[in-house]
């Protein structure tokens, strides 16, 4: 099993090479981390090892249209039936299901949230048209009494929030890494500029990328050591990485034009919003790091 530090370095490299490996965020990143930390030995053997080798692709389905960032409002239900569970509900903005063999679904069970491994080909879906130009497309998933065996439950029933957060902190670190990579790729396209107005904009972006890299590495090391207190560093890295990537890309476009760099624009811009928005990160830091009262 690769460490998050190694995976983040690979993801950053893929971005820097101009071919951002976004599906790694969900497959090896989120689902890999969840199965590694919370999967049963059988789940790890059956899915984690092939995911690691790139033989199985996984998606992650948590977001719902009425829930947004508030996981307490998740309505997709998993009801016990016949020794297994029946899933009913709807997920939105699930990425890359068209390439995936399995999708890990967050659903409400009798005792809180739980996670289930669902075969992708059993799930009804409709594509959400977006401005994104990337390999993975975005989907609405419809679960109409989809049956899964009990062995598809990840972790214990009701532990879903904790299990999901382990994956979501990984997702934040990898989001930062991919944006930093794209930012470095964008700056590398610039070979000549005239004047300090342009050069200094690029230099500021480069400094921001370097700072974000240090924070992302730190967050990955803390995660690998099991020490990322509530995800503080991962959240900070996600904000810094996606901001720095967006600024670098924007400044590079100012100088080089849209031709080569436009395909990355909506990816990076979207990653400033998801998987967790700038605003929710600032809420988190205000509350957890600064001890300010909750604002929402």
């Amino acid at each position: 099993m690769r460490s998050l530090s190694e995976l983040a370095a690979e993801v950053e490299q893929s971005g820097a090479a101009g071919r951002p490996a976004l599906s790694s965020l969900f497959s090896q990143g989120v689902v890999g981390a969840i199965l590694n930390r919370h999967g049963s030995p059988e789940q790890r053997r059956r899915w984690l090892e092939p995911i690691e080798r790139g033989e199985v692709q996984a998606s992650f389905a948590i977001t719902e249209s009425d829930a947004g960032t508030n996981s307490h409002r998740i309505k997709t239900r998993a009801v016990r039936d016949n020794g297994g569970y029946r899933l009913r509900g709807q997920k939105v903005f699930t990425s890359g299901i068209e390439h995936s063999d399995i999708v890990v679904v967050v659903a409400r069970t009798e005792r809180g949230l739980s996670l289930f491994i669902v075969d992708a080909d059993t799930v009804e879906r409709a594509e959400i048209p977006t401005a994104l130009q990337m390999d993975d497309r975005q989907w609405t998933l419809f679960f109409d009494d989809v049956y899964v065996d009990a062995e598809r439950l990840v972790g214990s029933e009701g532990d879903g929030l904790k299990v999901a957060f382990c994956g979501m902190n990984v997702e934040r670190v990898l989001t930062a890494a991919v944006c930093i990579g794209i930012g470095l790729h964008a700056l590398a396209q610039v070979t000549a500029v005239s004047g300090q107005a342009a050069a200094h904009g690029l230099a500021e972006a480069r400094i921001a990328l370097t700072g974000a890299q240090l924070m992302t590495r730190r967050a990955a090391q803390l995660y690998d050591a099991g020490l990322d207190r509530g995800g503080e560093a991962a959240n900070m890295a996600k904000l810094l990485g996606s901001d720095a990537g967006a600024v670098a890309l924007s400044r590079a476009i100012d100088v080089c034009g849209f031709d080569r760099l436009a395909p990355y624009w909506w990816t990076v811009r979207t990653l400033q919003i998801g998987p967790v928005s700038r605003e929710m990160i600032l809420n988190f830091v205000a509350e957890r790091s600064l001890g300010l009262p909750r604002s929402y």
Binding site: A192, Q196, A199, E204, I207, G211, L240, L282, P293, R294
Partner: protein, 380 residues
């Protein structure tokens, strides 16, 4: 890997706590008072010197602590976070101490380093000239051999030299007859050396001066060998230590802003529950933590002898920006109280702002990164 790999070492943590306690004992009110009285912060300087904190980075055989720049940066950060940012710390042990430790001969080290470490010797650093600014190629202060003996005669002008009012030695950069730069330790009361204070908006114990050198005689045992390289060996630490002051000011400002935002109620909830107040402070916290990683990284590179110019420049920009941002947001969080002297925020403004200009300006840092990191053509 354990938590200890990410936290400061036990030794550094103890150093930080002790320095913070010493400075906080005097604190922002003391800082305000010595500035109003226009006197040096002798009590703070002695308290730090007596405990060996000015020489943490200097060799043990000369009275230092045998640690690195990382630890000296911690001393500057903690004094600043306690409301007592001192440029003198950056200059005397930071620049002059570092240059002497690396380039002084055994006699010179024995003569000056113990005093720098125990606070009995205060040094200033004279590099900037009115006609040169950031361009060291245009330095014109001349050092020529004294025709009447072993020594040199210095002639020229320096400006924005800090803390000359109570310094014991001045480290002066001058050009030799071959055009190379040389460093000299000069007594500030040497015949032919005059000074004129520059009035500034800074509320900081060290005053700024223009210095006039008219055939100032310097003995040849006061020449520090190493020339340009020696000078640059003082400039990267200066940037890293400026970053440490920026981080300390950011910490001080954020702590005050958050305490105020938790207490102050105008409508039904504390103002810190409003995102318009909380989010800028959270952004400040993230800028601060990022700058801290960059500064530790730069100091780490410097301490192992790796090239640290790029990292030091980047850290300096990020940390001094974070200092100004956090202080500005702290003032804003306090509303009208932000400018009341009682709240002890505005007294750091011009120092925080100065650190974006000196020891190297934001613009020169960006030129450096554009040229050296991004490989863009030189723009000036």
């Amino acid at each position: 890997v354990t938590a200890a790999d990410f936290a400061p070492s036990h030794e550094e943590q103890l150093l930080r706590e002790t320095v913070f306690a010493i400075a906080a004992d005097l604190g922002p009110s003391y800082y305000k008072r010595v500035n109003a009285e226009r006197r040096p912060p002798v009590e703070l300087w002695r308290a730090l010197g007596d405990r060996g904190f000015l020489g943490v980075h200097l060799p043990e055989e000369y009275g230092g602590g045998g640690l690195g720049l990382r630890e000296l940066a911690a001393v500057l950060e903690e004094t600043s976070a306690a409301g007592c940012p001192l440029l003198r710390l950056l200059i005397s042990p930071g620049i002059v101490g570092t240059i002497l430790a690396r380039h002084g001969n055994a006699d010179q080290k024995a003569r000056w380093l113990p005093g720098i470490a125990n606070a009995s010797l205060r040094c200033s650093f004279a590099l900037t000239e009115p006609g040169a600014g950031s361009n060291s190629h245009k330095l014109t202060t001349l050092a020529r051999p004294d025709p009447e003996g072993d020594g040199y005669l210095l002639t020229g002008q320096k400006t924005y030299i800090s803390g000359v009012e109570d310094c014991d030695e001045l480290l002066v950069v001058a050009r030799d007859e071959d055009g190379g730069l040389q460093l000299f330790m000069v007594p500030p009361d040497a015949p032919g050396l005059d000074r004129q204070p520059i009035e500034t908006a800074l509320q900081e114990p060290e005053k700024q001066f223009t210095l006039f050198f008219d055939q100032v005689r310097v003995d040849d045992d006061r020449l520090i060998r190493g020339g340009l390289k020696a000078m640059f060996d003082g400039l990267n630490p200066e940037r890293i230590l400026a970053a440490a002051i920026g981080i300390g000011i950011a910490r001080y400002a954020l702590a005050k802003a958050c305490a105020y935002a938790r207490e102050r109620v105008v409508w039904s909830s504390p103002i810190g529950a409003h995102q318009a107040i909380a989010h800028p402070l959270a952004e400040g916290k993230i800028k601060l933590e990022q700058a801290r990683l960059m500064t530790e990284h730069a100091a780490g590179l410097y301490d192992v002898g790796a090239p640290a110019g790029e990292a030091a420049n980047m850290a300096k920009l990020a940390a001094t920006d974070a200092g100004v941002y956090c202080l500005d947001r702290a003032i804003q969080t306090h509303g009208g109280n932000g400018v009341a002297l009682e709240y002890e925020l505005t007294q750091y403004w011009f120092l925080a702002r100065l650190l974006q200009i000196a020891p190297v300006s934001r613009e020169m840092v960006l030129n450096y990164v554009a040229e050296h990191t991004l490989g863009l053509p030189k723009s000036y």
